[in-house]
């Protein structure tokens, strides 16, 4: 009989870091699958396939980089790879990308982020910055204009609204903007143009809830971030005459929930103490708002996370000590930050001036320009059926009975999908066509119903003119 020694305790929880990472991976894949669905419905098959390619590229680059690093450092490759959890970084990175990113940029940025953002710091557990956020920021810094050729690109609500300064000139204008992307509910659901994995508040929040229940992520961080962002954005909105939904909009878009669930909760780059984490999340929320509204950047979430990563060591120091004796101090520091957040909110409110005359991609002013005077008003059933058809103004050349222009007057189909037809590229194709040639117009895959409604409408218009 051999009595084995081990310093007590000799009892351990079943939870392991590998299990945590496995759960996290599954959660991320769920989000990715929804992202693929959205890519298909909003853009089309090409974007779905391209998204998959990007994912594979990021995963392979990350694993190869870490593998080579292990070789160079003469460490066993298998164990190093499986305890470095590089794939999590790769997946998070791709989920933050638009599907228009080039494969080349993904490979370069994954490589740089893993090498400089993680391995050179000493590997997993030692990095200061969230490596996925580093990779994403690199794409912004170096490849902002590089878009893959074979995929559809579109204005996203966040970039559109960011261009407008994150504050609409009036409640009406804001509501109009929301409607153009399918309203707040669609923002929550996530079927609109945006980063591959960031669009759906509902899906990410559900995955987050499960992960929090499985103790994979710290719900205190996610909750604090979302609540703080909501409160200060709503406050800022009220002061600037925005509708109450304004605060919700900030929470629902721009990857706020993605950041809250998957990025801020990255344990390696956030403080370890409970109070420190509250502080960290609140700080990130304030910075997000400042960057969004103050600098009119769409990527407030990303940069706020990187900035907070940078101050994490300081936050740790601030909250070092016996947590029981320090309890009042812990609460006090957080209360001070909360007050600061409110002050920032008020100051920001007076600093921003909503951009005037911004044109949102709305139903009213999209499409070819037409002289309404001699337009023929027609309607045709699209995706929503006979009950709520799309309506058009079709202008014909009276002599040749060919099309001069087609314009949407009422768009009733799915925003983000059907409005692929509501573009000059698509509508201009009709110019010069006669009745027999209309059927030759290529329908947009992924927006077949809407395409067909345009074709129907044009035919009706010519038929009507003949009568």
């Amino acid at each position: 009989m051999k009595y084995v020694f081990n310093a007590s305790p000799n009892y351990r929880d079943n939870v392991s870091t590998s299990r945590i990472m496995r759960d996290l991976t599954i959660g991320l894949l769920v989000v990715f699958i929804f992202g693929l669905v959205n890519q298909y419905m909003t853009y089309g098959m090409d974007n779905l396939i391209h998204s998959l390619i990007l994912m594979i590229a990021a995963l392979v680059t990350t694993l190869v980089t870490e593998g080579v690093w292990a070789l160079v450092c003469k460490k066993p490759i298998g164990a190093t790879l499986s305890h470095s959890y590089g794939w999590v970084t790769a997946i998070i990175f791709v989920l933050m990308l638009q599907s228009t990113a080039t494969v080349y940029s993904v490979i370069v940025c994954s490589f740089l982020a893993i090498l400089f953002g993680k391995l050179l710091f000493g590997g997993f557990g030692h990095n200061i910055f969230n490596p996925a956020a580093v990779a994403r920021a690199l794409v912004f810094a170096s490849f902002a204009s590089a878009t893959a050729a074979d995929v559809v690109s579109k204005a996203t609500p966040v970039s559109t609204f960011a261009n407008a300064g994150w504050v609409a000139s009036s409640a009406d204008s804001f509501n109009q903007f929301l409607t153009s992307f399918g309203g707040l509910f669609n923002f929550a659901l996530g079927l609109y143009p945006g980063a591959i994995g960031e669009t759906s508040f509902i899906v990410i929040a559900l995955v987050g809830a499960v992960l929090a229940w499985r103790k994979v992520i710290d719900w205190r961080i996610s909750l604090t971030y979302i609540v703080t962002l909501f409160v200060i954005a709503t406050g800022l909105g009220i002061i600037n005459g925005q509708p109450l939904t304004y605060g919700l909009y900030h929470v629902l878009t721009g990857g706020a929930i993605f950041g809250a669930v998957f990025m801020l909760t990255d344990p390696v780059t956030s403080p370890t103490s409970a109070a420190g984490r509250i502080f960290f999340a609140m700080g990130a929320a304030v910075l997000t708002l400042v960057i969004r509204v103050g600098a009119s950047l769409p990527e407030g979430v990303l940069y706020s996370i990187l900035l907070m990563n940078m101050v994490t060591p300081l936050i740790e120091k601030l909250f070092d000590g016996n947590q029981i004796d320090m309890k009042s101090k812990l609460v006090k520091y957080n209360a001070i930050l909360a007050v600061c957040a409110l002050v920032v909110m008020v100051v920001m409110s007076f600093m921003v001036t909503p951009a005037e005359n911004v044109s949102y991609p709305t139903v009213v002013n999209l499409g070819a320009s037409a002289t309404n005077g001699d337009a023929i008003h027609v309607s045709a059933a699209g995706f929503s059926g006979e009950a709520s058809p799309n309506a058009f103004d079709v202008v014909l050349d009276d002599e040749t009975q060919t099309v001069v222009s087609v314009t949407f007057t009422t768009f009733n189909d799915t925003p983000g999908i059907g409005d692929q037809c509501n573009t000059p590229e698509f509508l201009d194709q009709f110019a010069g066509l006669g009745y027999d040639q209309i059927d030759d117009v290529e329908v947009i895959s992924g927006a077949t119903f809407t395409s067909n409604s345009v074709i129907d409408a044009v035919k009706q218009a010519i038929e009507g003119g003949n009568q």
Partner: protein, 427 residues
Amino acid sequence: MFFVGPMRQHLDGHKSLSEHVQVKTVDTPSTVYIPLFTGGKDAIPCVNVGDHVYVGTKLGQKEVPFIVPVFSSVSGTVKAIEKHPHVGLKPVDHVVIENDGKYEEKAPLAPLSMDASDEALLERMKEAGIIGCGGAGFPAYVKYSAKGITDLIINAVECEPYLTADYNMLETTMDDFVAGVSLMYRLSHAQVAHVCIKESHPEMIEKLTKAFANVNGVEVHPVPDVYPMGWERVLIREVKHVEYNKLPAEVGCIVSNATTAIAFANAVLRGMPITQKMITVSGDAIDTPCNVIARVGTPFKDVIDTAGHIIGDEVMMCAGGPMMGRTQVSDQVCVVPETNGITLLKPRHDVEVACLRCGRCSDHCPSGLQPVRINTARKANDIDTLMKLEPMRCIECGLCTYVCPSKIAVTEGIRAAKRIVMLRGKK
């Protein structure tokens, strides 16, 4: 809680393994080894080789910083006073007694009545060597000398996994327990005595409620099944919702173990010190987990053999529960008055990975420490930060290691940090 973690954790207790199994009695071997060591200090012997002793004969006494005597558990002849392995991991002097198998008792103290004076009771606590909980061999009489006590808390929680010895003691010696608690309650001058028991033991709660029905001022207080519920700080936090700096007396509390109450009743009513112990032998490496009764000084080997057979060729043997019990490397160590269990576990093969900085250790530390920060500061040799993190307040409960998903021996790191701080204090 939002700004600090829960500071405790539910553990899978595996209590059913031994809880309702028939208690066995260990045949005391012909030689017993009684350590001249208690509360971390050597005791001075008061017997000589060749002396005849009885069950209850005083063998020696520790004098600094507090007086705690040591007693014989068998009758027979003192054969030697020599170094022998000890559960504290360092060999210490033991009185080796040849057991004559007669177990002739000679109570070292005269029995007292239930209405003995406070002074007599305090004196009895001291003479009988009643040691309280809270480690460091803090004798009970010191606590009970304090003034201004409002609450007496009796710890019948037994939060260590696998252990059911206290529970079985309550089952078998309920009368002594009630007498002991009543005496302690009177002695403490507290307004209320709270008998704390895990809420997962509804049948025991019922029994206790019935047993204390006629005792005014004593209430049964169910507490959650979490670890380390049996530590005085956690108990006071649960019962009174207050924190204190060093000693429970600061907030008017005394915490005593249930077994201490039973031992006290025995010392008062019969004049006898602790000579036998109820010991849980359990774990995943023993075929028939159960409770046994063994005399102080019996080698662990005899205790384990009475309980059952060890499974496998390699085993980890903890003196006590798996959380705080030290791992023993020799089965020749002997039962001491504090022994309440022997936990036998299959060796673990956890793979340690890098600290994920998940903060679980900080969230769960019952002392409000930040183990991950302590270990980071220790590794970085950042002494100033280390001092600020107060590693000396660690009670080595082991919870930080338990919760660590990266399978790091966090507690062991804190011990190293303590040594650094202690060395610095000496300079």
